[in-house]
Amino acid sequence: MPQDKPLKILLVDDEPLARSRLRELLGDIAIQFASEVVGEAGNGIAALEFIRENPVDVVLADIRMPGMDGIELAGHLGAFPQPPAVIFTTAFDNYAVQAFDLNAVDYLLKPVRTQRLLTALQKVTATPHPDSAVLADIGRKARGGGRTHLSCHERGRLLLVPVAEVLYFKADLKYVTARTVDREYLLDEALTHLEEEFADRFMRLHRAVLVAKTALAGFEKAAGDDAEAYGWALLRGVPDKLPVSRRQWAPAKAAAAG
């Protein structure tokens, strides 16, 4: 297939030797397929930082990486207006491989074969970006937990919000906001999905509020017959008060005590 210009490739793997292997293989097939390695990253976060500043056509991403794995990386990339194509690499991850086969997501088994790499690259730009719901599901099962970061697009820029720093999520009409000690972020997420994904970390206080169990500092009964809430929850680190519904009052107090 003749190309106008070489594809810009980003290599993402936590093992330096695995990255240099891919670099060698790309060099070997340079005659059949022109590509240029524009950067390397050790995990998903570093990869997103790179992509924010530099145009990239294809990301070769390892599945299991510290900080942010390849599946979560692909999920965040999916939110870009024109996401780079993603090819996953993995040494051995039974669950992810089975799920990829089911959903026709392209992946390479390590050690990677030259011919397979070539085939994957030749069809990569034509393949649609993997569906975000599918990625979320695979990621959750493969890593045994939710994402490590949430993405927030602000004036065309991608911001990553570490889930560990979020004190609470609040739903307002159209948006969900995430509050950290420093500031608020607008997210393109549904509260029910967040509740499901991070069930071990967050709990529902109210129809429109999820709170990090570790952030709960105390409770106040609402004065008189406040229609909005049965009581209020106080938080560590921020002065905000969150409404607690009558139904969640006892479970919330139990979670704060435990």
């Binding site: 093992e15 030797l17 060698e24 050690p111 071990d200």
Partner: protein, 337 residues
């Protein structure tokens, strides 16, 4: 080469010097005494009093008999099985009769049938010997070996393929390093495929662990730091193969790989009294991640320890806030076995 054929539970006449055997005998006799006390007492209130009364007669006899049997283990085992068992029963019954006469001479006797104590003692011995014979059959060498083979530690495919990938990337740039890595890899797999019934020396197991960690270092680079603290231990001590490596693999897989900045795997091997302690510690990474899968290797090693050492070895886990430590405690008597 020492092997599983020396396993204490495989002889129908038990090894009375083995801690597990002693514990089982002590427990078994006391449970029998409790049962007898229950049968003979009219109500629950008298049950305990009756047991204490029985125990006063049983315990000295029990300890004396165990001591004598421990001393006579080898000559008893040299006899044909049935004769050996008969000797044990006769010995215990004789002791019981002797003790009865001794109490009588002190004036504590209740004037009961003088044959009662030896008959009860003989009956208890028959029950326990029957138990040990059944147990020995359950742990026959063939079956034990089959179970060991099934439990044989497996090296994670994740590690194999990642290592092969790392070696492939070294071949062009650093061929000598690639050769050394492949040699280590083949040593590791040879160890994993060895007859699991054969014991290996502590020194060999440590060497294997070091080779394994060298391979991991190749992949992980500076993220993996290793701290070996080996005290004054008997390096020739025979131990079951592949006890250390799976635990090191767990430490790397759960403690180092998921951490961007890496961490230290600390291995402490020391001798305390007659016990050898092997402790492996790694930092804990964000809770909930990659927690599963860890239990398989640990449960596997626990079961193998039980097969090799019965109750004399144990595995302890200490899961702290930011540190995870597994300790294997093995009996370490230079003269044993």
């Amino acid at each position: 080469m020492t092997s599983i054929r020396h396993f204490p539970a495989t002889h129908p006449l038990p090894d009375w010097r083995n801690f597990g055997v002693m514990l089982r005998v002590l427990l078994g006799v006391n449970v029998l005494a409790l049962a007898v006390a229950f049968l003979l007492s009219p109500g629950p209130a008298e049950w305990l009093a009756r047991y204490v009364e029985t125990a006063a007669l049983v315990e000295p006899l029990l300890l004396l008999a165990l001591g004598l049997l421990a001393g006579l283990r080898n000559p008893l085992r040299a006899l044909p099985l049935r004769l050996g068992q008969a000797c044990v029963i006769a010995l215990v019954a004789g002791l019981a009769y002797g003790q009865h006469l001794f109490w009588q001479s002190l004036g504590f006797g209740d004037g009961a049938n003088p044959l009662r104590p030896p008959v009860i003692a003989a009956a208890a011995s028959i029950v326990l010997l029957g138990y040990f014979e059944l147990r020995a059959r359950a742990f026959s060498p063939a079956q034990t070996e089959a179970r060991l083979a099934a439990l044989n530690a497996r090296i994670r495919p994740h590690f194999l393929f990642n290592s092969l990938n790392a070696v492939l990337s070294l071949i062009r740039a650093r061929p000598q390093q690639a050769e050394a890595a492949l040699e280590s890899l083949s040593d590791l797999f040879r160890a994993a495929m060895r007859d699991p019934a054969e014991l290996i020396s502590l020194a060999d197991e440590i060497a294997l662990g070091k080779q394994y960690l060298e391979l991991e270092k190749l992949r992980l680079g500076e993220r993996l730091a290793v701290d070996w603290q080996i005290g004054a231990v008997f390096m020739g001590l025979p131990i079951p193969p592949l006890m250390l490596q799976p635990l090191l693999e767990n430490a790397v897989y759960h403690g180092i790989e998921p951490a961007s900045e890496g961490g230290i795997v600390r291995i402490v091997i020391e001798q305390r009294g007659e016990e050898l302690i092997i402790a492996i510690a790694n930092p804990t990474v964000a809770a909930g991640q990659h927690a599963s899968g860890n239990q398989i290797a640990v449960a596997n090693i626990r079961e193998r320890l039980a097969l090799y050492y019965d109750l004399e070895a144990r595995l302890e886990i200490e899961a702290g806030e930011d540190n995870y430590e597994v300790r294997i405690i093995l009996p370490c008597r230079k003269t044993s076995r």
